[in-house]
């Protein structure tokens, strides 16, 4: 196996608030390998964004705090490096795409000026003409029509979908090794989402970047990700190959998520929601944070007392891991969500 480009080791991030300490991310580890798409899925408050933004130094500290753990980019310790070095990496070899392109673009500069700024920040010797030419090429890559003209327009002259394309152009400007996309399609309409998915694929094939795709949209993950990390209440509860996660999930939360989905491609009698509410991150439930909502736990003591470790359940590939004491009890019948238990096409 090649060396990971980005790796996160037992990361714990907390926030100090008036109401108490929020345990946003607890003991999270994952690796990102060159050229792959890693999907990080979870609902609001699961820690999927915080865990990644921390790596980029984008979490204000305080109130945030890295309580323990570490992260490396190509072997370099991200938390020990100088601010200058981190700035160099950010927007250079590690680039980001955010959910809302309107708030991440500066309204008073043209689209072209902002992309050129990103280029020149990392290539101070680049001539203006060359930067402009490269910017136009980037806009073309992401499918902005008439790039020679639109390069001089302002963000408000771009529609939501076009702004997201411009954001992607900016992100890939410096040939990043890692592209972090945080809900890249969430603010967009379905038909525009489909366009952006195509653009992301094109951007990846142009740069060969590894992508961290942070999203709550299981459909998007099913479509784009090679591997998946499922988060719940700040922890990784399951991880594995995308086919394993969707076709044979081994954590009751993942199973519950799949079953609660309304499906576009099938008629369903009733949806099967996960009962209850997501837990408080200030006073998370003891033991497994999912146990109060879990149908598998059924009041068994160990779920209330012991935090389950992320391990490979018996009969699964070493790469497929679940943080459930009773992962082995998830039989095929429990796991089959609508349209999932089919293994043709793997």
């Amino acid at each position: 196996m090649p060396e990971p480009v980005l790796s996160v080791n037992e990361l714990t991030v907390e926030f100090k608030t008036e109401d108490g300490v929020v345990h946003a991310v607890t003991d999270v580890s994952w690796e990102l390998y060159p050229g792959e798409v890693l999907g990080i899925v979870g609902e609001s408050g699961s820690g999927k964004s915080v865990s990644t933004m921390t790596l980029l130094g984008l979490i204000p500290m305080p109130p945030g705090r890295v309580a323990s753990g570490g992260a490396t980019f190509e072997g370099e310790d991200l938390f020990a490096m100088s601010k200058k070095r981190l700035r160099e990496l950010r927007g250079g070899q590690m680039a980001m795409i955010f959910q809302d392109p309107m708030t991440s673009l500066n309204p008073v500069f043209t689209i072209g000026a902002q992309i050129m700024e990103a280029l020149l920040a990392h290539h101070p010797d680049m001539k203006d003409d060359a930067a402009r030419e490269r910017t136009i090429h980037l806009l073309e890559t992401v499918g902005v029509p008439f790039p020679e003209r639109r390069v001089d327009q302002y963000p408000h002259e771009f529609s939501g979908g076009m702004r997201q394309r411009a954001m992607i152009a900016m992100a890939i400007a410096n040939d990043p090794a890692v592209l972090i996309a945080d809900e890249p399609t969430t603010a967009l309409d379905v038909t525009i989402q489909a366009q952006i998915v195509e653009v992301l694929k094109a951007a990846q094939s142009e740069t060969q970047a590894a992508i961290v795709l942070i999203t709550h949209d299981l459909g998007l993950v099913a479509e784009l990700a090679d591997r998946v990390v499922v988060m719940y209440a700040g922890r990784v509860v399951e991880q594995g190959d995308v086919f394993e996660i969707f076709n044979a999930p081994r954590h009751p939360y993942t199973v519950g998520l799949m079953k609660s989905l309304a499906r576009l491609d099938a008629e369903q009698q009733r949806l099967e929601p996960i009962p209850g509410q997501p837990p408080s991150l200030i006073t998370p439930p003891p033991g497994c944070a999912f146990h109060p909502r879990c149908t598998l736990s059924q009041g068994r003591a160990v779920c209330r007392t012991d935090v389950p470790v992320l391990r490979s359940p018996a009969g699964e590939q070493e790469t497929h891991r679940s943080a459930c004491h009773f992962a082995e009890e998830l039989g095929a019948a429990d796991r089959v969500g609508v349209g999932s238990g089919v293994d043709e096409g793997t």
Partner: protein, 361 residues
Amino acid sequence: MSETETQAPVVAEAVATNGGELLRIEGLVKHFPIKAGVFKHTVGQVKAVDGVDLTVQPGETLGIVGESGCGKTTLGRTIIKLLEPTAGKIVFDGRDITKLKRRQMRPVRRDIQIVFQDPYASLNPRMTVREIVGEPLRIHGLYRGSEGRRRVEELLRTVGMSPEHANRFPHEFSGGQRQRIGVARALALNPRMIVLDEPVSALDVSIQAQVVNLLQQLQDEFGLTYLFIAHDLSVVRHVSDRIAVMYLGKVVELGSRADIYARPMHPYTQALLSAVPIESPNLRGKRKRIVLEGDVPSPANPPSGCVFRTRCWKAQEICAEETPALVPRPGGQHPVACHFAEVASPLDEASNANGQPSPTS
């Protein structure tokens, strides 16, 4: 308005064939003026809803789908007269409510309620749950002492909350619970119809299912009629008996769940269905995806003829010249507003690729 005129025959037909509908709208138009300059001259119109005819039968769920700016939310608000219609007619339970004044609307409001999308913005943060849920009763003079309290508690139980929650404030609840409070408020006056405007889109997936199930259970229990407005095609499929697909202020296709999902005829509906990512990696590379070019045009300046033609791969000259009427077209039974309508089933291909039986019911 020439456009409303061209659709007139369709309306006549709808009236003739549909007897017992609860709601009927005819040629409904809602334009918002664009004002500019010092004297605020009207320089244009945003044609949010531009000639919509629909009927809703008692006890059914009519889903309204479309992307942002298609006019679905404006349509819902105009129907319950939170917005004054620019033209057209709204008939509720046989009574024309189009011209009713605020005061005259009050008794009608008992029968039609609305639940909003954002449970964080639609509940007054300074009011307790008891006050919020009891407010419609109070406005209609129906909240009397202990009886009112009992009614609020009963409503909370109906939506799956505990009566002890009545003294708390909205911020103490999660999104899903707030949406339950919004539903309890809508139920307070025993309405016959509820307009649900994106009722679950602000909620997490695991909570969405809870609220969807609650809405279905309430519909069974109280015989409610729903107008379910949403952009999520999967949720709309799950809850709706019939579906209207909207684009730029117009209904472009109207049919039963099977018509829309298994036998869609409008290119826009087909593009929508093919664009939604499906939660199965097995379908990768096996679905034919229609990626539409460009963006939705501005509703202030919609294209001539068919509003979808600027993004449509089938568009011909006639599409710019003639607005296609929403009528049944060769090859299908349900009304489609397209000169070149034909059945294509993007989801059939998807389920075949996934080893599933066809979704055709």
